[in-house]
Each structure stands twice: as C-alpha cells, then as structure tokens.
C-alpha cells in the first residue's frame, strides 16, 4: 500500500496498463471461434416466431423494390442452387454457415427447400449471437406456390380478383406462370423454372460489397 502511494499518477497509469496486459495474456482471443458458449435453456425456449418468418410475397415485393438492407442466403447444396434460386440469393450451404463472413448487424434471410434447414440455420446463427435472422416461410416450395406458380381459384370475388391481378404481375416479374385450379398452367406448358441470367459473380457479392468501400482517416 505504501509503495502504491509513492507512485505518481503516470506511474499508476503505467501499472494499470501493465496489469491489463498481463490479464490479456490469459484472457484468450476476442474473435469468435467455432465453439460458442450458449445458454441452452434460452435457445430451447426461443422458438421461431411468426415475426421471424418472412412471407414469400413480402420478400418478392422487397426484391422488386430493390431493397438492399438484407442478405438472402440459400442454404441448399450448390447443385440445387445452380438449378434455381431466388435473384440476389447467395449460396452458403448449411455446413459452411458459421464459417461464412457474415456480420452481426446485417439482416439475414435464410432459405432452403422448406422450413427445416432454414430453422437449423436460424438456431445456429442465433446461438452465435446474430440478432437479425429471418427465414423465408416455406422456403423454395413456398416461393413456388405463392410467387412463381400461384393457383387461380375459380369463382373469386371482385376484391380477390383485383389482388390476384397484382400477384400475377409479381409472378411475371420473376418469370413464373399462373396456374388454374387443376394445376395446369394457362399456357399449357410444363413447370419450367425460370432461367436465370447473370447468376455468375452473384455468389458472395453482397457480402464483399461492404469490404470494398474504403474507409479510414
């Protein structure tokens, strides 16, 4: 104690810095590693609420409006992704999800063939501390049923018809087709998935965009 009192302010600050440095020797890495500490109970209690799901129609609107405040992640295999995926979606298979360069301040929307893989990805990211994770409700199946190939019910009311007309415009935007009640498309052709142009270079471009920006003093 006496020794401490003898030190002047500069020396005390130096001592504090030294002690903090010493603690740092044993405090480990500040970067996230693969093993994470999770509150098992909290994760178990947290379920995917409806507010964490995004309806395909709403996502379709966002894409048409050119919204860019989210990153769309396709969790399926590269093969499935090559065959068809949503515009702007980038392919990060589920096993690579936690290694991918994602930022915790990004809004992430997960999609897979249905809700199962998306839910797994959702739990993975949530347990790593990502806050803004959403899943595309119904995945690709839901996307096809609601956006690409919506079914036209017979005898719709006037309001329903007006709404459906709007839906049709969205469907055409994404290159889909309207089906009638029996599931046959109006133009009688097969269920051809829309061909995507300019798929190349899309992978991970959304993530890298941020890095290219030059910041600094």
């Amino acid at each position: 104690m006496n020794l401490l009192r003898k030190l002047n302010r500069k020396q005390k600050l130096a001592l504090i810095a030294f002690l903090l440095g010493l603690i740092a020797l044993f405090a480990g890495s500040p970067y996230d590693s693969n093993s994470v500490k999770i509150n098992v109970k909290e994760i178990a209690l947290s379920t995917i609420k409806d507010s964490d799901k995004i309806k395909p129609e709403i996502l379709a609107d966002w894409i048409i409006q050119g919204k860019s405040d989210f990153v769309l992640i396709d969790l399926r295999t590269p093969d499935e992704y090559e065959k068809y995926s949503l515009p702007e979606a980038e392919n990060i298979p589920l096993v690579n999800l936690t290694d991918a360069e994602l930022y915790k301040n990004q809004k992430l929307i997960l999609l897979s063939s249905d809700n199962v893989q998306s839910a797994q990805g959702w739990f993975l990211l949530k347990s790593k501390g990502f806050k803004n994770v959403y899943i595309l409700d119904g995945g690709i199946v839901g996307w096809k049923a609601n956006v690409l190939f919506p079914k036209q019910k017979p005898n719709m009311s006037k309001e329903e018809l007006a709404l459906f007309e709007k839906k049709k415009a969205v469907t055409f935007y994404f290159g889909g087709k309207v089906l009638n009640d029996s599931g046959i498309s109006e133009s009688n052709s097969e269920f051809n998935l829309p061909v995507q142009s300019s798929k190349q270079n899309k992978t991970s471009s959304a993530v890298n965009q941020k890095k290219k920006k030059r910041e600094g003093c």
């Binding site: 130096a14 810095a17 030294f18 903090l20 440095g21 010493l22 740092a24 020797l25 044993f26 405090a27 480990g28 890495s29 500040p30 970067y31 996230d32 360069e101 930022y103 915790k104 301040n105 501390g129 030059r214 910041e215 600094g216």
Partner: protein
C-alpha cells in the same frame, strides 16, 4: 468523412457531417491544448528532446487496444465489424517515409498544421498549401505510379496472424513495448533537455 455509427443509418449524411465537424473541433482543441499546434514542440520529437508525440501516440494505441481487446473478450464488441485497411507493404513504407521527412522539415503532420493555422500561424498555412500542392502532384502523376501504388498487397492482416502468436500475447507485448518506450522517452528528454524549446527562457 463518416461520423461514428453512420453506416447503421441512425442519421443521414447531413447530420453525419455535423457530427464529424463537432468531433473534429474537439479533436483539434485537444491537439492544441496538448501543444501539438506548435511546430517547435513537434520538431523537438526528432531531436529527442521532447517526446510528447511518441507518448501521446503510444498512450492512445495502448488505451484503444486494451479497450477493444477486453470489450471483444466480454462480447460487447464484434471485432469483425471494425474496418481495417489492406496492407500494401512497399508503397505504404515509402509513403510513411515521405510523410516522416515532411514532418521533420515542416514541423507538422497534416492534422496539426490545420490546428496551427486555426490559431493564426503563417507556417501552418504554408504547410497546408504545401500539402495541397503535394496532393495535386500525386493526382497528376498517379497514372505513372499506379502500378507501384497497388503492388505488394498483403490483404487485411493483423499482428497476431503475422507473428503466429495468440492475440492476448500480442496485446501484452505491445503494452510492454509502450512502457519501455515511455521509459526511454523520459531518459532521452532528460539527456537532451538543453535542446527542448520549452526549456528556453
């Protein structure tokens, strides 16, 4: 110039300019109060008689490093979100050398010259004009030197990666290095006190 948190869209770009302006005023005030508006004190750094620049810089580095490190460890700060510039080792070494030579000759670094001019000093103004002339020359000859400018890119690298040391070890070593530098600085200030412009009269 982006103010802190600008990219989170908490405020628009107009407000960000105002925020940056206020922070800049505060920064300039602190520099002037610390004596960094005086070319003689700054140049004394290179005559080893007034080590204020080194002390301030190293204090800032150590304080920021310890803060960022411990906030990262307890999980309050996501280090991945911190922007880091890429390393172009040769062009950056040469650029640093040019800046250093200018620092010795002019007695200012770009920021402190503005601080000095704001208190009415003419040499501060000359330094600013010189800096703008340098920027102009650089812009004009850029096509000739762009190959060199973009060469030896090592990407975003950090000391723990390059040295293959644990992060905490690097933190500790930098603290030790800083404390050693402070000690040497005190010694050299005592030894060369006769050259210190602050001791005149």
């Amino acid at each position: 110039m982006n103010a802190p948190f600008y990219k989170f869209n908490y405020f628009n770009s107009d407000i960000s300019l105002v925020v940056a302006f206020l922070i800049g005023i505060g920064f300039g005030f602190a520099l002037e109060k610390g004596g960094f508006g005086s070319a003689r004190i700054l140049a004394a750094q290179f005559y080893l008689s007034n080590m204020r620049v080194l002390k301030v810089m190293f204090s800032a580095i150590v304080t920021a490093m310890l803060g960022v490190y411990f906030l990262g460890v307890i999980g309050w700060l996501d280090l991945k979100l911190i922007y880091m510039t890429e390393t172009y080792i040769l062009p950056q070494a040469l650029g640093g050398l040019i800046l250093g030579v200018g620092f010795v000759i002019g007695g200012y670094c770009p920021g402190t010259s503005v601080v000095s001019f704001s208190t009415g000093s003419i040499d501060g103004l000359m330094y600013i004009l010189g800096a703008f002339f340098g920027i102009f020359v650089f812009g004009e000859i850029y096509p000739l030197i762009s190959n060199f400018y973009n060469s030896t890119n090592l990407g975003v690298i950090t000391l723990p990666e390059v040295l293959h040391l644990p992060y905490g070890m690097v933190v500790f070593l930098v603290v030790i290095m800083a404390l050693g530098a402070f000690l040497l600085a005190e010694l050299s200030e005592r030894k060369f006190a006769f050259r210190n412009p602050e001791n005149e009269k």
